[in-house]
């Protein structure tokens, strides 16, 4: 398996110098590499950060702006534009044609010409909103200032309206600052999707109190702030479950976001073994959370024996009625060189039914795909890990984040650029099939495996009638045959390009899996019905992964031969398979053949006669 992967990565590997060839685990293929377009040597002001997906576009944040990649063909990502707009850390989200960018470095103003200024002078930090309707020329639509800027942010949909979204601004005070001191409340921005220029702060609440976090007494004489939890580092929302997990430096929180403007704390945990609560990932059932501990903030190598197996690691917590219960830890098993930076960083759920698998970045430790299904015994399934540079980067370096999208893993390397990896193990067949329309990894979708269960077909005529939209040619077939029929649906019946199954309901099996047309039509598709068929009526169903549970239905008639009421009818029946014109044609052919034979015979007889006379 490893040998196959090595052979297949040749095109991508060509981009890397020989001494930077990565180690790649089983069932993983390195299919593409693209350089960081902003990179300026080892200057950390041009490093990549997080990723977001909208349709065929991948948005890659950078401390100097963001890149838009066309990933319609995942093995050939194309740079559509590199948007120059400095300010770290460039955490990104994408909603339709809008891109949100987090800035928590104090900038001279809100423009893309701004420069970095000290915290203690007048400055701007907050959320930038871009319209990428023309991805070649993104438009800067709005800038929303918040008191501590935005280290990361989280898009939370409004259950009541799809016309706007809420954005949670995750930020904390860093100490002496003009605007950002003390405990930073969670500020929530409301973004009207059709009028992003009207985006504004819609709510503000404190997730902590003086008892459990930074309070007035926590500022010492020199002015320094000496309590850790002054705000949150990152929040992952799971809207379908009305939950969110907040990683708030010294504390981990489980939130209810049933009312997105008024999240409430369901559980708060501190753990002596967890130094810096960085981020969290839910399993699909929302029964477990993996928290990342970014010990050392990315400036050191914690993936070495000196740090052991549970520092700078992942910790799994069970969501139980009484709160959160720790159930296990995972640490990257490959020791990294002390020339590298390595610690648990950002990742996302790999959607595999019945399993809890994540892909996660470990900075220069690379990518690790881990199965947490048994939280007490996590197992690494595969990895991607470059060797060190031969020297130590001055600041943080390596892979910031990695997320699965449409069966591929996209990894954002701070200096190197973008890596695309394909999960080749059959275990990931369902993940590859999932039709993502977009993905903000910190807004976890609920994965539904609609294609794994046979559709339910109503039996009453009234319920069936509106579903019988499937065109079948021919609509009725003969008993005892194994016929092939052609089926189709008109435009608008399915979601554009969605993966679509054709189900044969008598055996509840899939006869074919096809892709819907861009206009939502099912192009005429030939399917062989499993025969021999007995007389009767059989259901054929078409269901798309995205438009499910909606189905299109057709009843195939298998028609028995008509009974024979009279001898004349029986005579007719013998010819039943032959149309009149065919019989007439045969008669004409027979007559012509007779004529040819007769004529030939005459010629032969005439020759014989001549021979005899000569």
């Amino acid at each position: 398996m490893v040998a196959a992967a090595v052979a297949l990565l040749a095109p991508a590997a060509a981009a890397a110098p020989d001494d930077r060839q990565p180690s790649i685990g089983p069932g993983l293929e390195w299919v593409a590499h693209r350089d960081n377009p902003f990179r300026q040597g080892d200057d950390p002001d041009f490093i990549n950060s997080d990723l977001a997906f909208t349709g065929d576009y991948l948005v890659q944040g950078n401390f100097a702006g963001f890149s838009i990649w066309d990933i319609a063909n995942p093995v050939e990502p194309e740079l559509v534009s590199a948007v120059s707009c400095p300010g770290g850390q460039g955490d990104v989200s994408a909603v339709g044609n809008l891109v949100f960018v987090s800035i928590d470095e104090t900038m001279s103003d809100d423009s893309c010409e701004a420069t970095r200024v000290p915290e203690t002078v007048e400055n701007w930090e907050g959320l930038r909103i871009f319209d990428i309707s023309d991805p070649h020329e993104p438009r800067y639509a709005a800038a929303v200032r918040t008191r501590c800027g935005s280290h990361t942010h989280t898009v939370v949909p409004d259950p009541a309206s799809s016309e706007h979204v809420f954005v949670y601004m995750n930020a904390y005070s860093r100490g002496a600052s003009l605007h950002c001191t003390g405990r930073n409340p969670l500020q929530i921005i409301d973004v009207p999707l059709a009028a992003p220029e009207n985006a504004a702060i819609a709510g503000e609440l404190d997730l902590f109190d003086d008892e459990t976090a930074f309070g007035p007494d926590d500022r010492v004489e020199g002015g320094a702030e000496t309590r850790s939890t002054t705000g949150c580092h990152d929040i992952t929302a799971y809207p379908a479950k009305a939950l969110a997990v907040a990683a708030c430096r010294g504390d981990g929180l489980l939130l209810s976001i049933a009312d997105p403007l008024a999240p409430t704390v369901l559980a708060q945990v501190r753990d002596p073994a967890v130094a810096f609560w960085h981020s969290g990932i839910f399993d699909n059932e929302a029964t477990r959370i993996v928290f990342q501990d970014e010990l050392g903030d990315g400036f050191i190598n914690t993936c070495s024996p000196a740090f052991g197996a549970d520092r700078g690691a992942d910790a799994v917590w069970l969501i139980e009625p009484g709160g959160l219960t720790k159930a296990g830890t995972y640490k990257l098993p490959r020791t990294q060189s002390d020339l590298e930076k390595c610690v648990a960083h950002s990742g996302g759920l790999v959607p595999v039914p019945g399993r809890f698998i994540i892909a996660q970045a470990w900075l220069e430790g690379g990518v690790s795909v881990v199965d947490f299904t048994d939280p007490a015994a996590p197992v690494e399934l595969t990895w991607f890990d470059r060797p060190d540079y031969g020297y130590s980067m001055d600041f943080t370096a390596g892979i910031w984040s990695v997320y699965p999208y449409r069966g591929y893993l996209y990894a954002s390397d701070m200096y190197e650029g973008l890596e695309v990896l394909r999960l080749t193990d059959p275990l990931f067949a369902d993940a590859a099939r999932y039709d993502d329309a977009g993905l903000n990894p910190q807004t976890q979708p609920e994965y539904a495996w609609v294609w794994r269960e046979a559709p339910l077909v109503p039996s009453s005529r009234a319920e069936r009638a509106p579903l019988e939209t499937l065109a079948v040619e021919p609509a009725s077939v003969e008993p005892g045959s194994t016929p092939t029929v052609s089926i189709s649906l008109p435009a608008g019946s399915l979601a554009a390009g969605e993966t679509t199954d054709i189900w044969w309901m008598p055996t509840q099996t899939v006869l074919a899996t096809v892709e819907a047309a861009a206009d939502g039509a099912l192009p005429p598709t030939d399917v062989a019905l499993p025969g021999p068929l007995q007389p009767g009526t059989y259901d054929l169903v078409v269901r798309g992964d995205v438009s499910a549970p909606r189905i299109a239905l057709a009843a195939i008639e298998v028609v028995a031969p008509s009974p024979s009421p009279s001898p004349e009818a029986a005579e007719d029946a013998r010819n039943a398979g032959w149309p009149w014109w065919a019989i007439a044609g045969l008669l004409v052919l027979a007559a012509a053949a007779t004529a040819v034979v007769v004529a030939r015979r005459r010629v032969v007889l005439a020759r014989r006669r001549r021979r005899n006379t000569s």
Binding site: P37, D45, V121, P272, D394
Partner: protein
């Protein structure tokens, strides 16, 4: 059947034309801005109501041309980093005394983590300082910045002579002000101009030391019960 190849010069001309037409087709270029096809860089105009331009020239963070070296580091950066190396080494030295003396299990674990983290951070910062010193330049002086929360030699000596609860108490009593000092040093650097990457590092140190102070105070409160 045979086919004659077109003359070589003709094929080159056609190839060039196709490349030019192809490039212009994707970018709707005019002869003057062919560069866009190779760079793809755009700088959007500010949004409506932008604050840009409403302020006077700001004191930019980052390299001040007269004081920064070629990597963008200023004298403030070098002073901060070299002082922080020494400051971290004090935390390491105290933490190294813990094995065999510390009694509380959580504090033992905590001291061991401080040892690992601050040792690694000190090494990283020392490498950063050495790299810039070896390059020479205006900012490559040997003066350390001010160090706050310093642990005195007598405190180290006393810690070395203590065992059990007495050691635990001294460890916390010395480490908390030591870490508060680190936060003060980081905040002092954040108020100055310098390499933005050093600013981020200073923020990170302030954050992680505040986390450790939190934990130490929690342990102290528990031990006092």
């Amino acid at each position: 059947m045979t086919m004659r190849m077109p003359p070589r010069r003709g094929s080159i001309t056609w190839f060039a034309l196709i490349v030019v037409l192809g490039a212009c087709a994707v970018s709707s270029c005019t002869p003057g801005d062919v560069d866009r096809t190779t760079t793809s860089f755009v700088t959007p105009a500010p949004p409506g109501g932008s604050e840009a331009g409403s302020r006077g020239p700001a004191a930019s963070d980052g390299p001040a041309p007269d004081t920064a070296d070629e990597s963008g580091a200023t004298a403030a950066d070098l002073a901060f980093m070299s002082a922080m190396v020494v400051h971290h080494e004090q935390a390491v030295e105290l933490a190294e005394l813990a094995p065999g003396r510390v009694q509380d299990r959580e504090l033992a674990e905590f001291a061991d983590r401080i040892l690992a983290v601050q040792k690694a951070e000190a090494e990283a910062m020392r490498a950063w300082v050495d790299k810039r010193r070896s390059r020479g330049g205006a900012s490559a002086g040997h003066d350390h910045g001010a160090m706050a929360g310093e642990i005195s030699r007598s405190t180290f000596d006393r810690a070395a002579s203590l065992q059990g609860p007495a050691f635990d108490e001294l460890f916390i009593a010395a480490m908390v002000p030591h870490h508060r000092g680190a936060i003060e040093m980081a905040e002092a650097r954040m108020a100055e101009r310098g390499d933005p990457a050093v600013t981020r590092w200073a923020r990170s140190i302030a954050t992680s030391q505040a986390l450790e102070i939190d934990r130490l105070l929690e342990i102290e409160a528990r031990l006092a019960e």
